[in-house]
Amino acid sequence: MSSSTLPSRAPGGSKLVLRMGALGYLGLILLGPVGLVFYRTFEHGLAAAWNSVTTPDAQHAFWLTVELVAISVPLNTIFGIAAATAIVRHRFPGRRLFDSLLDLPFAVSPVVVGLAIVLVYGRKGWFGTWLADHGIQVIFSVPGMVLATIFVSLPFVVREVIPVLREIGTEQEEAATTLGASPFTTFRRITLPAIRWGVVYGVVLTTARALGEFGAVSVVSGHVAGQTETLTLHVQDRFEAFDLTGAYAASVVLALLAIATLASMTLLRRRGAPA
């Protein structure tokens, strides 16, 4: 009858102390700040908040963010599934290195990512002259921001799918093959449905990351309001222009999107999907 999810048998007093300590710390570090932003946004009334969020610059920033997400999430999903399959099901030289490298976006500073993109695709960069000759502008315009967003949100689908692939094992796929299914059919009808929860989690995490990216796109974008500002950059822009309501309002939009992300994660977890 012993199970690690049974409550601990610590004496009641010390359990309460531990619980209060943990919750207190969380309240101080996490909930206090976020609660305050909501308060500050609506401090001057609903109308003021709404106006700040619907200025042309704000709207452009919102749609640009959506565009970046709409490009990077599907690409990273396809890449993620392919990479996970390659790592788990196939052997190739450099496999382990590839696996470790996929963690890079987790560990590298966003400004370093931005710098790397500038160094490669900027005017003085490696591809700089070639791009200039062909009239392609990467830095200080949307393509550069797409690259940055793709890089920072790259690993999530892979990292969610790999353990699922490992756990389900090859038996079902082997059974399908012995019954005559082609590799593509096996993938479509057996593998994909089996990994779908991993993919869904990965997509949610990728989306959240892409929405929230700041440092890398900041370096790469050039901060031209109304043209190369995402919603996150817009927040900083409003802050520096002393338009606090505008900054808070945009933040609330982003915070709501973040909470929606958390809520979908929790709901998906409860749907009985093995996390």
Binding site: L26, V108, L115, F214, T266
Partner: protein
Amino acid sequence: MDGGLSGFWQAVSGPEARSALELTFLISLIVVAINALAGTLIAWVLVRDRFRGMGTVNAVIDLPFALPTIVAGLTLLALYGPRSPVRIDVSYARVGVAMALLFVTLPFVVRAVQPVLMELDRDMEDAAVSLGASGRQVFARIVLPNILPAILSGIALAFARAIGEFGSVVLISGNLPFKTEVASVFIFGRIESDNVTAAAAVSVVLLVASLLMLAAIGAAARWGGRHEL
């Protein structure tokens, strides 16, 4: 890279660069140590305790992962800056930077320790109790050695994140050189002023540190699995 190795060294050992790097590593170390303790405590409570709203608390832990860093920075400034409702003002100060990093690195150790704690064989703890161990002895001699690799893994990832953190720090710190300017902000500033060499040099230092942390995580995972039955 123009300037070659000597240019690199010059850029990195310039006073402002060095100060930024030192500040970054020092604050990150302290913050990660605090969150290692807090994270282990929170993981313990989430796994071994039971109370109403626990699911929500568990979901909330991921808030720093989901919230854009600039929003995190703004919220921290709102609470702990000049117009703070609780009359705490740590903006333009190192404590402000530390608060931002505490927020951003909170989930790492928690999420690293939680699954290991859940998988831990409770029979081992019962066995220790039947042999006469007190609660504290059970934790120190049985639980802790078995979750230590996970804690270290979480610390490595948190540290890598902390040294590179930008969005949440850039507002609250005020970016005062030699006082509150962290490495990432230094890099950003140098890019803006077109001093790419200096930016690249400091970036390389951060990158090397990040790669070392990644290697450490791999090593911790292997070390943790060495006695698996």
